[in-house]
């Protein structure tokens, strides 16, 4: 039983990371219906940006260092995300290119980012210049470290903020209306492209946060770390219901738990089969995900 509970804690942490990235995925998908394959790579970029900042410190890195790494990383990656949108996606969006073309562009962006990082940081794994203490507390036999707790709480905070922003503020509604009909949205006086840019900035920033946290928590980063992670995060977004903030988090947690339990009871090599299997199951049986809203399309 304790092992089971310990596994649930493990799952929670993994799920939180999935959820954070899923949020950004979901936001971008939510506004331009683009499966942004490069999103996982922005997460990777975030990890590298944080790495560069932390490398500047000599000796012990404290909370100030971590905070600085987070802020710089969010800004840098946010701006890169904005730039990617501006350079690669916007011309296509403006021309109303087919979705397929956008997807191909995203694959191209993903490759370009990955290998740009490889060219500048080298192909090998980099080790985060920070070792956090392994302290924590026990509930029964289950151990939770302070870092784990911090990661989970921080993520919940971000989630609450986003939930309010997207559903309650007029800006969030504008983002949703762009997804439905961007021309009509511009007729409401809404600067469509500025909003798309904003969404990319926010989504990329979230990925950066996840990247830095991942680097700090696991300690090791690499230029290809974002790809599979991105796909998993997308799976999480779908499970939770794409476009939904709470859904992205919930999806992340569900995916984390499914993967963990799959690893424990069946075998680690089948982990990804579980992840993608549950993705397919969801799409076939409940395509709107756990919390997504059903859209009745009229004929």
């Amino acid at each position: 039983m304790d092992i089971f509970l310990q596994q649930v804690i493990n799952a929670l942490v993994v799920g939180t990371f999935y959820g954070l990235i899923a949020l950004g995925y979901s936001m971008v998908y939510g506004i331009i219906r683009l499966l942004n394959f490069a999103h996982g790579d922005l997460f990777m970029l975030g990890a590298f940006a944080g790495f560069s900042v932390l490398s500047l410190f000599t000796g012990q890195v404290g909370f100030i260092g971590i905070g600085l790494a987070l802020i710089v990383s969010v800004l840098v990656v946010g701006l890169i995300g904005l730039g990617v949108e501006r350079i690669a996606y916007r011309p296509l969006i403006k021309k109303k290119s087919p979705k397929l073309n956008l997807l191909i562009t995203a694959v191209g962006v993903s490759l370009a980012i990955e290998y740009a990082v490889m060219l500048s940081y080298g192909p090998s794994f980099r080790v985060y210049p920070i070792q956090l203490p392994n302290t924590g507390f026990h509930i029964g036999d289950v151990k939770i470290t302070y870092i784990q707790l911090g990661i989970i709480l921080f993520t919940i905070l971000i989630m609450i903020f986003l939930q309010l922003f997207i559903h309650k503020s007029i800006y969030g509604k504008a983002m949703r209306s762009i997804a439905i009909d961007d021309t009509a949205t511009s007729l409401m006086g809404i600067p469509v492209h500025r909003f798309i840019g904003l969404t990319f900035f926010m989504g990329s920033g979230l990925a950066a946060v996840a990247g830095v946290m991942d680097g700090i928590y696991y300690g090791q980063i690499n230029f290809l770390m974002g790809f599979l992670f991105g796909l998993k995060a997308f799976t999480a977004a779908v499970i939770g219901g794409i476009g939904s903030v709470n859904g992205a988090m919930l999806g992340g947690l569900v995916l984390g738990i499914v993967e963990t339990l799959g690893t424990v009871y069946v075998g680690g090599e089948w982990k990804d089969v579980f992840a993608f299997g549950i993705l397919i199951l969801f799409l076939v049986l409940k395509p709107t995900g756990l919390l997504g809203e059903a859209v009745n399309e009229r004929v």
Binding site: A88, L100, I104, T105, A112, L231, L283
Partner: protein, 326 residues
């Protein structure tokens, strides 16, 4: 419309045909190898074009069908001593059946969801290949014999190249004819507006399954050929990047158009080779190039032609004419 295959640019096509035949004779082993890789990419891209280009179903896991063909041939020829010809036939059938099986529950989904499901499905197939005993696990299957007819063995690269070339010609013929038929039009109707297609009596699910099954079949064929060309296969070859590259081939050249798709497949193989001397920069530049293509040639490098103003029947339209108010 019914544009005859060899009417307009027939000279160009004949020239191309001759070049294709001549490649192994006039170049070295390396270029022959690159050309055969291109051949089997053409086959894959043509197959995927049925699904994506004709029926408008975005498939991101096409390599799954390719894997099924490869493994069928790999397993049957090495472990059961089955002849290559039977194995390629079975490979195509298995791939088709798999295509239909996965299609039935998923083809009802919206297009972007379908893309994700197929992606997941492709990964699952790769992982099954990676984790199972009968597929040789992570190290795959090796020692796959070359095809033979009687005592004639397709031993050399050159012979294999011609073997693939024959399959490609066959595929072009079949797919081109399908594209210009009632079936091909039904696919286009579904791609454009599925509800309206239904209203015109087009059974959406049936035609989608047909597209999926046929596309899978060509994937299976290509897979079998891949297995004998490589003589060793491993799960690495069937990952998402493979599916992405095939999709790229379809889109880069000109989606929905056979000559465009062929061009795309050739480019996808040639570009990375041409950029080999940049080594580290290669994939980076490849990515950048992709983006640039989509921005500046969104319909591919060789897109299909657009509308024509019909002049054969200049009957004036009464409602819109200017004569109403003088």
């Amino acid at each position: 419309m019914n544009t005859p295959f060899l009417k307009n640019k027939s000279f160009l096509y004949i020239l191309l045909f001759i070049v294709m035949i001549a490649i192994p004779l006039i170049t070295n082993r390396y270029w022959t190898d690159v050309a055969s890789t291109a051949m089997f990419y053409i086959l894959l891209a043509l197959g995927l074009n049925i699904i994506v280009g004709y029926a408008g179903l975005l498939d991101l896991g096409y390599s799954a069908f390719f894997a099924v063909g490869s493994y069928t041939t790999g397993i049957l020829t090495t472990q059961f001593g089955v002849s290559f010809w039977i194995s390629i036939f079975l490979g195509a059938i298995f791939a088709t059946v798999l295509g239909v099986l996965i299609g039935i529950p998923t083809l009802r989904l919206r297009s972007d969801y379908l893309a994700i499901v197929t992606l997941g499905f492709g990964e699952i197939i790769r992982l099954i290949a990676n984790n199972s005993k009968f597929t040789g696990g992570a190290s795959g299957i090796y020692g796959i014999p070359k095809p033979k007819i009687g005592s004639f063995v397709f031993q050399s690269n050159v012979l294999l190249y011609y073997l693939m070339f024959i399959f490609v010609l066959l595929a072009i013929f079949v797919i081109w004819r399908l594209g210009n038929s009632r079936v091909g039009r039904a696919w286009k109707y579904i791609r454009e507006d599925e509800d309206a297609a239904e209203a015109m009596g087009v059974n959406g699910l049936y035609y989608k399954l047909l597209a999926y099954g046929l596309g899978a079949m060509f994937g299976g064929l290509a897979g079998s050929l891949f297995a004998v060309k490589m003589s060793a296969i491993a799960p690495e070859s069937f990952g998402f990047m493979q599916s992405a590259m095939i999709l790229l081939a379809v889109v880069l050249g000109g989606i929905g158009r056979i000559s465009g798709v062929i061009l795309g497949a050739v480019l996808v193989i040639l570009l990375p080779e041409a950029m080999r001397s940049f080594s580290d920069w290669r994939i980076f530049l490849f990515g950048v190039l992709l983006v640039l293509t989509m921005i500046f040639r969104p319909n591919g490098l060789w897109p299909s032609k657009k509308e024509t103003e019909e002049m054969d029947d200049p009957e004036p339209l009464k409602g819109g004419s200017k004569s109403v108010v003088s």
